[in-house]
Amino acid sequence: MHIEIRHQAFNPWHELDAYTRSASYRNQAGACATFVGSMRDFNEGDTVRTMHLEHYPGMTEKQLGVIVDEVSKENGLLDVLVLHRVGDINPGEEIVLVGCWSSHRKAAFDGCRLIMEALKSKAPFWKKEKLLDGERWISRNTPG
């Protein structure tokens, strides 16, 4: 399991490749499911120029650890990688990467979805959008 908060932009495909190649369970993992969330340049009918993502250092990592641990045990995952951006983000840049490895596809698919949904409701992150004519905190996540 690897959980990391990143202040700089990252390439999720390079991250997945590097992480997978170093995995000790590589010959047991028959499946890998991934989710990559990126920043859009529109929201609720407005153009969004940039976004600032705030987190609660210490608690965010702790809650992500609890989520990944629970989902891994319940679904029999071999490994999980979670990367999440914070700070100033531009449209098109990745915000979050979740990778789940398992022996068979169902556990990887289910585990990836469960981790993402729990992350969006339990891991303390907050988005502030900078619009053409001001800025605003996002008050709610969009439905999955």
């Binding site: 705030e54 609660y56 608690m59 979050v96 969006k120 409701s121 303390p124 907050w126 988005k127 008050s139």
Partner: protein, 76 residues
Amino acid sequence: MSVNARFFASLKERVGHGSVSVDVAEASCVRDVWYAVTGEGPGEEVLVAINKEYADFDAAVVDGDEVAFFPPITGG
């Protein structure tokens, strides 16, 4: 006793503090910490954590606790 009250995102802007030390009476709860800083009710949905674990407004606090207040989560 003293606790460290922390505020995040929109609540930090509303309250005007990211972190502030608060003196409260023995046997106080999270709600007492909130009132000691803001002097008013939450007025909107506010989530609470004590020492980085989720809690609620009726949870007891002890000397040295870190009590965090933040709005609903919007990550991912």
